[in-house]
Symmetry: C2
Subunit: 239 residues, 2 copies
DNA sequence: CGGAGCGTTGATAGAAGTCAATTGACGTGG
DNA sequence: CCACGTCAATTGACTTCTATCAACGCTCCG
């Protein structure tokens, strides 16, 4: 299986053989996390950044009143806390959604890249810019779409992002998330998430069982979500 | 008046005299925009990035059904489209909220910085990471706070960000935004924005007239918003 | 066998949107 | 100085969306 970060980056620009080497070397130190475990704790000042190799994880924020909001879902090929290289202290936590394999990339190495590998540094910067673009898109859906639209949009997005790292089937993908976690992601109650899923099912847009999501009507889902993948920057360009 | 980007960056790390030179040189080419004018159009592929020198602007997204969502408010010292250096094509527009002065910074210069000024490049990267941190915080408030909490949070944030660039008075600041624009920012209808403002006024938290916002009860507002400024990274650290 | 956690459903309350109308501030032209 | 137009702010009435509360079933696992 190819390295997912390599797939992620080469979807956006070409890499030199030397750059490819460096990327592969990043995955040297690997660590496993169990489902529900914290990968990075809020308040931590990491000395390495975590690259997802397998499994799903989320960035989460706990409010003063104890409620939780998830601000990102991370898939293989995503750096979950690359920003800690410069932001230093984590203002949120990262939790494993499923059992995960994670590469621990020392900040020393990342810093060296910013000093000596300008193009690769730009590619890492790019990955955080795509994260930000996804955040913005979520703001749009949160602000302007109904629960149904929001959920549809999330499914379209996850589908598209999983395609990049070759983790989709013809019309289905792993979606190992509970309705409570989905509620924390979309800013909805569990009960309403449940109703929303039922609606998508009744409209024959999706099927979801045993942690596997099957898209029955891709165009219908896209329309419900007003999904446009441009923000994911899926084009090879010199960066 | 000091250069706002210099204030912005030096709040986060020290700069060398040479770096300070380069920052100042960035503001060489200046352009003015009138209120409501587009600073960057959606779909554009800019060859320069826009740095706010004075005035307020917003990033906005138009949905297929014509509604609008604002995903960021930009103040002096902010780069509104630094990300276009690597993302190339704009997936959203940027509009002036007020009359603005903007520095046009050629991508050629920014790219040179990534090649030859690694620390300064990291500082620019940092500024986009702070943008992303703000996006995440907005996601949290959109998902979990009531309209009153959201609006309070926005006011606390703008206040704090304006302090960095020395644009606050003892207890007030310019807040030149219409209730419609505020609705597009918070994902609320104008009518509900109006109700929400009235509530803040009735609770004696703020006063707002003639485009000037006065905070009457800072601690009360902070509590209503559950505001914690950590995400703004207001600490000088080696980055 | 019996929790514990998750998914499901129904009933009700509260938050926010929509529609419609009014008011106020400001600028222009007579 | 006033009439008029425009735009934003404000308010009320009604509707829709989502949260909350409560109950129940299922499945997995100790």
């Amino acid at each position: 299986m190819t390295n997912p970060l390599l797939l992620y980056l080469e979807e956006r620009d070409r890499l030199s053989p030397e750059e490819r080497e460096i990327i592969l070397a990043m995955s040297a130190r690997e660590r496993r996390f169990e489902a529900k475990a914290d990968i990075v704790k809020e308040g931590a000042v990491p000395s390495e950044s975590c690259l997802m190799l397998s499994g799903y994880s989320v960035r989460y924020h706990i409010l003063e009143d104890g409620r939780r909001q998830i601000s990102a879902i991370h898939l293989p090929g995503d750096f979950v806390d690359l920003h800690s290289l410069l932001l230093k202290q984590m203002d949120h936590g990262v939790a494993a959604l499923t059992d995960c394999r994670v590469a621990l990339v020392p900040h020393r190495l990342l810093r060296d890249i910013t000093e000596n590998q300008p193009h690769l540094a730009r590619m890492l910067w790019l990955s955080t810019l795509i994260d930000a673009a996804i955040h913005r898109r979520w703001l749009v859906t949160a602000g302007r779409l109904t629960a149904t639209g929001q959920l549809s949009h999330l499914l379209c997005e996850i589908w598209t992002r999983l395609e990049v790292v070759k983790l989709t089937d013809a019309d289905s993908f792993d979606f190992p998330i509970s309705q409570m976690e989905l509620g924390d992601t979309l800013g909805l109650s569990t009960v309403h998430v449940n109703r929303t899923i039922r609606e998508l099912r009744e409209r024959n847009l999706v099927q979801w069982q045993g942690g596997r999501m099957t898209i029955l009507d891709k165009e219908g889902l896209r329309r419900t979500a007003q999904f446009e993948p441009a923000y994911l920057n899926l084009q090879q360009r010199p960066r």
